[in-house]
Structures are given as structure tokens and as C-alpha cells.
């Protein structure tokens, strides 16, 4: 709940002005390890994108488990504090994913990212673990509101603090894409959450995506595609995944986008 609305609106109510669209492609990979859902109830809208990793079917199972668990818990429970709910869900799903086993009972060693937003009454809360992203598009500008939880983030931090030299930084850069936080890592602690809900403005768009999108397209391209398809946001979602495939320098990873449009 937005602080400014807290006293005037005692209960949460559904905002009828939010519309949502999704598109997902396998890319050039053999398996689809992305999962997503966007569910709308009188309580609000929950949107989630998960990008699984590990083994033949491990990533697929991990991301599907995360999405299903979050959606089921969302619709079956009464949520008093959404931020607490999202944080607890991340911890609970992390534990569940670590326990995933194959047919013979051996641990799958799977993991998944999680990028989720919850929107109610024009206010947005969010959580992110891993390198899936959440963007806010407002007044023809695009801003990512979460970090990529990968080794590069750690290297940047260490370099900025003077803990490593530029030479050491470059020596480690080949491992920069490795995730340092994801669901399934066990005792997950590094998460990006909002400190206060974001008050949305009419015309705002929220974009959730797996890394397949932003590793193929620049933020300027993403913004251009969404702006170009202002007349049909489902087409915008489809064009984003199509363009990710078309502009990919090498093979294209699984790519999933959800667009939430506050109209």
C-alpha cells in the first residue's frame, strides 16, 4: 500500500486500469526453462518471471515450481504485508528448489531466478533474485529497478572499494555472468526489494523479463519497440521476443517478457 493512501483506503482494491501481456520463446535452445504467470484477482495483480537453470529438465522444473508456488500461495492466502509475503515466498521456494530430485532420488542441482511485482491500487511492490529484470517505463524513458545478481556485480563492488585492481578485475571477467544469488542456492539472502511501494502514473509500463531479452537488445531498443507498438501491447510483447531472436549475436537464450500497462 502506498504510504499516502494508507489512511484514506483501509482495504486493498483491484485497479481496473492495469492491462497485461506476455510473450515467451524458446530461442535456439532445446528446452524452455523460463516460466511466467500474471494473475489478476480482486486483491491486485501479481506478475512473475522465472528463468530456470541446471540439468536437462532441472531448470524447467525449478522455474515452474517457483511460479506455481508463488501463484498458489498468492491466491490461497490472505496477504497482510505484501513485501513480507514476497520475501518469505523467495525463502520458501529457495528451500523447495534445493530439494528437487530426479527420478532416482538424486538432487537435481537446479535453480531459478525470480522477478515478481505486485500491483494494487496503482502502487507496486517487487522482489528480484538472480538476473531477471524489472523495468519501469515512464515518459518515454526506461529504468531498471533491480540489479543483476551475478559475479560482475560483486567484481564492480570490489573494484569500487579498491579491494581488487583493474588487472585482477579483467582476469576474473570471464566468470562475470555467473549468478551469485538465485532460488535453489540454499539459504538465499541476496534479494532486491523495494523499500517503499512505487506509485504508478497513468501511462506507466512495467516490463519483467528474463536475461534473454536484455542480452540481445539495448534498453534503447526495448524502449523503441514498446513505443513503436503503442497501439497494441500484445504485439509489443511479441515484437520484443522476436527482436531478441533476430538481433542475437550468437544463439538465443529462452526469452520471456511480461508487460503491465497502467492505462
Amino acid at each position: 500500500m502506498c504510504p499516502e493512501n494508507e489512511s484514506s483506503i483501509p482495504t486493498r482494491r483491484f485497479d481496473p486500469e492495469m492491462k497485461y501481456y506476455a510473450s515467451s520463446i524458446v530461442g535456439t535452445r532445446k528446452y524452455q526453462q523460463d516460466s511466467y504467470a500474471c494473475i489478476e484477482t480482486p486483491e491486485g495483480i501479481l506478475a512473475v518471471v522465472c528463468d530456470g537453470m541446471g540439468g536437462l529438465e532441472g531448470g524447467e522444473r525449478a522455474s515452474a515450481l517457483a511460479v506455481r508456488t508463488l501463484v498458489e500461495d498468492y491466491i490461497s492466502g490472505s496477504i497482510a504485508d505484501i513485501r513480507k509475503f514476497l520475501r518469505n515466498e523467495a525463502i520458501r521456494i529457495d528451500s523447495m528448489v534445493t530439494k528437487l530430485c530426479d527420478g532416482s532420488g538424486r538432487p537435481l542441482g537446479a535453480g531459478t531466478t525470480l522477478a515478481a511485482v505486485w500491483i494494487d491500487n496503482g502502487c507496486m511492490d517487487w522482489i528480484s533474485v538472480g538476473d531477471s529484470k524489472i523495468y519501469v517505463i515512464r515518459n518515454n524513458t526506461i529504468q531498471c529497478i533491480v540489479r543483476e545478481h551475478n559475479y560482475r556485480m560483486m567484481l564492480n563492488d570490489m573494484y569500487m572499494k579498491g579491494e581488487i585492481t583493474l588487472e585482477q578485475y579483467r582476469g576474473e571477467e570471464h566468470k562475470a555472468e555467473a549468478l551469485i544469488s538465485f532460488l535453489g542456492i540454499g539459504n538465499v539472502s541476496l534479494m532486491d526489494e523495494n523499500e517503499a511501494p512505487l506509485q504508478l502514473m497513468q501511462g506507466d509500463m512495467i516490463l519483467l523479463c528474463s536475461d534473454g531479452l536484455y542480452k540481445s537488445l539495448s534498453e534503447q531498443m526495448i524502449l523503441a519497440i514498446i513505443s513503436d507498438n503503442y497501439f497494441d501491447m500484445q504485439r509489443a510483447a511479441d515484437e520484443l521476443t522476436d527482436a531478441a531472436l533476430r538481433y542475437a549475436a550468437k544463439g538465443q537464450d529462452n526469452t520471456t517478457v511480461i508487460i503491465l500497462n497502467y492505462v
Partner: protein, 308 residues
């Protein structure tokens, strides 16, 4: 609008460095002058599109070769602007935008992909897939008449595109052998203006479309009623405009009478027999997930998901 330093071929929009004559298409930069009143080459339109040469212009609608600096691709820029700001101008601008929004969503194989269409202060523009300068008219002029079979296989998808446009109550507005261009092994219909309802263009276009599609399908084209002003009741009552005759010769290597005979004898394909590509369907929630949600007693207003 401002000038950009980067040098592109004004015709094919490939980057050509310091060259004056394009190594890709042979176009000579220094030999080109933009027609009066139209955008000069190297103009940066809407802070995004590097403008090349004019491809066609009729005073109201102009097409340019251009380069999209953000998406890093060649495009065709179709600009509407008649220099007026009266009611009629805004009405036509609205029709132009409506036409291109519909065309964008139709995603037809024989129509250039429409990337976007937007209004600007004194007009509107559409950004479409770049298609080569090679028009059907030029190709025929260069190679002589093509066989009926070749013409049939090339033109049928174009005609189906027209049919699909008509089904959506759109009339191309500028159909001609110049507007049909080559894209690899196929032909595409370019330069739609969305101006079919305009007084100056309506008659010839309507008759042309009625004849062209009418002969192919053996029935009159479903032109929207509001465009029909004469006493046309069947294609037999239509006269044959010059550009339609040219297109028949181009399409069939024969006159209208011979073409009709070809239609009867060779049993041309109906549009429904030709592959048109598959439009992507919006994501829909699997029934199982909906069932789950509903069974929990929670009112789910909407759901899209990958879960099965």
C-alpha cells in the same frame, strides 16, 4: 530535424564511408537532389531516422529510403503531409494512421512489415520494412514479358494481400506496377496510402481493384460500400483504366480478355489455398490452471501463464 554526419547510400541505405558511388547498388550520391518541398537527404527525421532518397511522391504521400538509427536497420519511411492544417487534413491523417495500424496487425506476407506509425505536428508517418528498389515494372521492362505461370506464382500472393486488405475494409490506394516490389523471390505490395476515400484517387483505384481481383476470383472485389458511387453492378460493366491494363499485361503477359480465358482454363488458385503465414495468437491460460484457481474459491479475473 538535424543533419547527420554518417554517410549512407541514399538508395539502399548501406553505410558507404567516403564513397560517392554505392558499391552495393551503384547509386551516385552527388547526383541526387531531393524534389522541392520534400525532405533533403541526410535529414534526421524524428531524431531517429536518417533519410535517404525519395522513392515516390504524389504531393501528399511520400516514401523515402531511410535508416533507423536505434534499431539499426534499413526502413522505408512513408510520410503523409499535405501542408494543410484544416479539418480535412486531420481527417486524412487519422485515416492514414488507422490504415497502418491495421496493416501492422495483419502481418501479411506480401506486404512490407509495418514497424510503427505515428503522428507528428504537421502530418503522420509509417515506418515499414525496407524493400528493394526493383519494381515489377522495371523488372518486366528489363526482362520482357514473363510467362503466365511465372506471373501467376509471383502475383497470386500479392492479390491475396489485396483481398485480405479488402476484408479489413482497407483499400491500398496506390496499386500499380511501380508499387509492387521484389523481396528476394517474392513480390510485395508497397506504398499503401490509406487514401482510397480521397476524392482525387478513388475512382481509378476502385475500378482497378475491382478488375484485378475480380478477374482472379471471378467475382467483384468487396469494396466498402461507402466507396461505391457509380452504378457498378458487376465487373462486366466496368471500363478498363490504363494502369489496370498495364497490370494485366504485366501479370498475365496478355490483355484482359486473354487473362480471363487463362483464369477459366487454368483454374487459378483461390486465396484460401495459398499459405499466408500464421499470425501469432495471444497467450492464453491453460484450462488446468484456471480450474485450480477457481476451485480454491478465489475469483480470478484474468490469468496468463506458461504453466501447464
Amino acid at each position: 530535424m538535424s543533419m547527420e554526419p554518417e554517410k549512407y547510400c541514399l538508395s539502399c541505405m548501406q553505410s558507404i564511408g567516403a564513397e560517392d558511388i554505392c558499391p552495393f547498388c551503384g547509386f551516385k550520391r552527388s547526383g541526387y537532389t531531393a524534389p522541392i518541398g520534400l525532405m533533403k537527404p541526410d535529414t534526421l527525421f524524428e531524431s531517429r531516422y536518417h533519410v535517404g532518397a525519395v522513392r515516390m511522391s504524389d504531393g501528399v504521400f511520400s516514401s523515402y529510403s531511410a535508416y533507423d538509427k536505434i534499431m539499426k536497420r534499413r526502413v522505408t519511411l512513408r510520410v503523409f503531409g499535405d501542408g494543410n492544417t484544416d479539418y480535412e487534413h486531420f481527417s486524412r491523417r487519422g485515416r492514414f494512421l488507422d490504415t497502418y495500424k491495421k496493416l501492422a496487425l495483419m502481418e501479411m506476407v506480401s506486404f512490407p512489415k509495418v514497424y510503427t506509425c505515428k503522428a507528428f505536428e504537421s502530418g503522420a508517418y509509417a515506418v515499414c520494412e525496407y524493400v528493394s528498389e526493383t519494381t515489377l515494372a522495371k523488372e518486366i521492362a528489363g526482362n520482357g514479358r514473363m510467362s503466365f505461370e511465372d506471373a501467376k506464382s509471383l502475383l497470386l500472393p500479392v492479390i491475396v494481400t489485396l483481398k485480405l486488405m479488402h476484408d479489413e475494409r482497407l483499400v491500398h490506394g496506390c496499386v500499380s506496377a511501380e508499387a509492387v516490389r521484389r523481396r528476394d523471390k517474392t513480390l510485395v505490395l508497397c506504398d499503401a496510402s490509406g487514401s482510397a476515400a480521397d476524392k482525387f484517387a478513388a475512382d481509378d483505384v476502385r475500378e482497378f481493384l475491382r478488375l484485378f481481383v475480380g478477374v482472379m476470383y471471378g467475382s467483384p472485389t468487396p469494396v466498402p460500400l461507402e466507396f461505391i458511387k457509380g452504378a457498378f453492378t458487376s465487373r462486366n460493366e466496368l471500363s478498363l483504366p490504363d494502369d489496370a491494363l498495364e497490370c494485366f499485361v504485366t501479370a498475365f503477359g496478355s490483355s484482359e480478355v486473354e487473362a480471363t480465358s487463362d483464369f477459366v482454363l487454368r483454374k487459378l488458385y483461390h486465396c484460401s489455398d495459398i499459405a499466408l503465414g500464421v499470425k501469432r495468437q495471444p497467450a492464453k491460460p491453460p484450462e488446468s490452471v484456471i480450474s485450480y484457481a477457481v476451485s480454491e474459491g478465489v475469483k480470478v479475473k484474468g490469468l496468463i501463464t506458461s504453466l501447464v
